[in-house]
Symmetry: C2
Subunit: 486 residues, 2 copies
């Protein structure tokens, strides 16, 4: 058997190159949150990071953290929310198959998690961004990021925005991402609390004592094998498996060949290292999916599938549009919008360069339908039905909000959105609410903890922007605290 | 850590209650095929079966074995097929994510696998059943069982039926299932070749030597712990995880609460026993899905989703209709058919008792649409478009075959097919083409083999009736041969 991932018996280790109470593999958001909490709990903390610097996928991300239940920021922006209301939304939006216990736990701790982030120095501007978009166009701190205010979610819970976005100092100049503004204070806080870090070092194998307890790691640094002893626990925080082609083929083949919003270091290694110890997995098929279209265009048109049929309210969370398109519509969509709608989108807050020109333009819907190659009459019937409702401000089929309803006129165009999705994986190690890694026996593996996208988090199928930085930081903290007290 | 599934070190075993060269856990189709081949290869074979008799899910199944490439039965029924043609179909129909290497391997061996079954005494009648249905109504031996002759598959490969069904002696009297007629000769062949069996015994844990090799099993029989030594290898053939609620929630939540065509013994134990050794998994989200409707009705109506839209050619494999309904249409479908269509179905080969009466009946489509509660105009537009094409013998939207196209008239009814699906899981242990169980390192686990529905087989997402008995028996044979030569 190849030994490059098989656990190493502790008895075989003759020398430890590094030692710490808590050893954390990966310095993205989960690793940083774990480092802060473990160090604050008095543990000697060592973080191992594969690249040359802290940050991970988080530092390059839009920076959304999904929080609610009445955070200080929600209140400052004038929105009501409650723990139950947030849970009601997430139980539907993160499923089917979402773990209601985990969601309840996350929602109950959400307000204090926001306060904790602020306490670490993460800046948030108390301003709401209400325009369609993937992210705020300015430095606003709060935005709908999961379709909370669109159908069907606006019938399930009271709409509250929960996408909390760290404030950038100079967004217009592109000096930093909001994700960077999340990571920088967390790492500074961890460092101030005493956490040490080693860079350019890759965790390779877990070291296991004869009683089954994880007591360290073997890593590689510039070709050398490095041994690291963990006196209290190892925390795996090494990201998703979006860039492991074999794992994607085994577990999430629909997303194969289209990784997005992820980084190449997300190779699934942490998952496999723990699997080699008998660790259990969950929700390996779940993925975040973006659709490569701007919401300022999406809301003003209608999206149809390869049969010319509408299938999603166009004003919902665009990640939901991506998921439904990739998984339910064979990754085939066309955005139908008329000249007036395109002009409005061009005049919106979204920079024109980010908007797509129509792939086809025609005088009539019948001509457009033929140009796209849709079944004769299919798109015509869809547009006729949409226009009939839109003329009286209603969308009986999909309940797009009235503000975006306007009959489609001439000239009419279509943007080709076939094969226009990408995303990252959401499944991974099964863990307890204390971030202990579960063995298939159902019991925690002693000394082994995990958080972030190498674990199965809140989402079993659906998604909302901010869920990954949210559960990564939330359960990263748990992992750090729990490991420190072992 | 709970120890009820953790591997037992061989050094801890002081006494073996049973010994054999090859120990097979599970006496369904995969176990029986493994037993035949291992015994024929000269190994001393012991099969452990949890229930009181051989059979497994196979003995209760419709008995389809998916085979092609030009089997003797295909030829006798007048159908052309080739290995490449069969592979072209399966690569599309079993995906996305289907393993092309495994499919090529299976197709290349398909003709000789059919001959092997015949050689074991499995009877097949050289008669084709061409009516819509889940199974032949009589004792015919061959049937389309994967939508090969419907869109889009009839554009991808030359249509050939590949559902090979063992002949029942007295189907009308209900004396046996076709699956029983598959299992009985296989078990008799295994017994004649010298395979022994112990019943009422549950495999619990694998026994592992210090070098990592699997050398036996610990099992339970009426409360006693039994040790079984495997001199050459252990074959896991214990079925799917369809009845393990926790695993279904973790991996295939859409199918939760709706197991079908499965048996309660399918508790995922084999998968977890191997996971505890670091075994790798694949395609855990894949499921077979049946829709609880008779094809004689399906082909004569139109299926619409919760938006009143058609989404599948109604004359395709009904399992495909089930999958698309459950996964892509939120498990919501309505079968629209007029009085004439219902009368025709009632006069078909399907016994009237198996046909469903309409849930709603109306004089007009507009009234029916309102009774169902569909968006105003949605079903009317769908029926109008369908009727317009049907009147000239065409279905431009979904390409249902012309023989089933007839404009929908009055009175018109709808059968409520919401939440009307069920099925079993298709994912499991990752194995080599020699049925060796793969460790997450990518290397086989020495001494451990697996086949049948505790492994990931041909199907990554789609399905065709006969694929499970097909890959179970095919790779069961490989497992038996490979274990015997270890």
């Amino acid at each position: 058997m190849s030994t490059d991932i098989v656990p190493v018996p502790a008895a075989e280790i003759t020398h430890w190159d590094h030692e710490a109470d808590v050893v954390i593999a990966g310095y993205g958001v989960a690793g940083a949150a774990a480092a802060v909490e473990a160090a604050r709990a008095g543990a000697d903390v060592l973080v191992l990071e594969r690249t040359g610097s802290w940050g991970g996928a988080a530092a390059m991300a839009g920076g959304f953290i999904y929080l609610g239940g009445g955070t200080a920021l929600q209140k400052a922006c004038g929105f009501d929310d409650s723990v139950d209301n947030m849970a009601a939304f997430l139980n539907v939006a993160m499923g089917p198959g979402a773990d209601e216990n985990r969601i309840a736990d996350y929602c109950a701790g959400s307000v204090s998690h926001f306060d904790w982030l602020v306490g670490c120095g993460v800046p948030f501007k108390a301003e709401f961004f209400g325009e369609p978009g993937w992210e705020p166009m300015g430095d606003q701190g709060l935005m709908f990021s999961g379709g909370e205010n669109s159908f069907p979610f606006n019938t399930i819970a009271i709409s509250a925005p929960r996408g909390h976005v760290p404030q950038m100092s100079n967004k217009k100049q592109g000096e930093a991402s909001a994700g960077f503004m999340l990571m920088k204070p967390l790492v500074e806080t961890a460092t101030a609390a005493g956490a040490r870090a080693v860079y350019d070092i890759r965790a390779q194998r877990l070291v296991v004592a004869s009683d089954g307890r994880v007591v360290g790691l073997v890593a590689r640094k510039f070709g050398d094998e490095i041994t690291i002893r963990a006196r209290r626990g190892v925390v795996l925080a090494m990201g998703s498996f979006a860039y492991n082609e074999a794992m994607v083929a085994q577990y999430a083949p629909r997303i194969a060949g289209r990784p997005a919003a992820s980084i190449e270091q997300h190779d699934g290694r942490a998952i496999q290292m723990a699997q080699a110890l008998g660790a259990d997995l969950a929700h390996m098929d779940a993925t975040e999916v973006a659709i490569f279209a701007d919401p300022q265009q999406l809301v003003r048109g209608i999206l149809v599938n390869g049969r010319g049929q509408r299938y999603v309210p166009e004003d919902t969370y665009p990640g939901r549009i991506g998921q439904l398109t990739l998984y339910h519509q064979d990754n085939t969509a066309y955005l139908i919008l008329d000249g007036h709608a395109q002009d409005e989108a061009m005049a919106s807050l979204t920079p024109q360069l980010m908007l797509r020109p129509p792939t086809w333009v025609a005088d009539t819907v019948a001509e457009l339908e033929a140009e796209i190659g849709l079944a004769p009459g299919s798109l015509q019937a869809t547009v006729a039905a949409y226009n009939e409702g839109a003329a009286r401000g209603e969308d009986p089929l999909l309940h797009k909000k009235a503000q975006w309803l306007r009959p489609i006129g001439s000239p009419v165009g279509a943007i080709d959105l076939r094969e226009s999705t990408g995303g990252f994986t959401l499944g991974g190690l099964a863990t307890t609410l204390d971030a202990e890694v579960l063995h298939v026996s159902g019991e925690p593996i002693p000394g082994l903890f995990a958080a972030g996208r190498c674990t199965a988090g809140l989402a079993a199928w659906g998604y909302a922007s901010g869920v990954s930085l949210g559960d990564g930081s939330f359960y990263g903290r748990r992992a750090g605290r729990r490991a420190a007290r072992d």
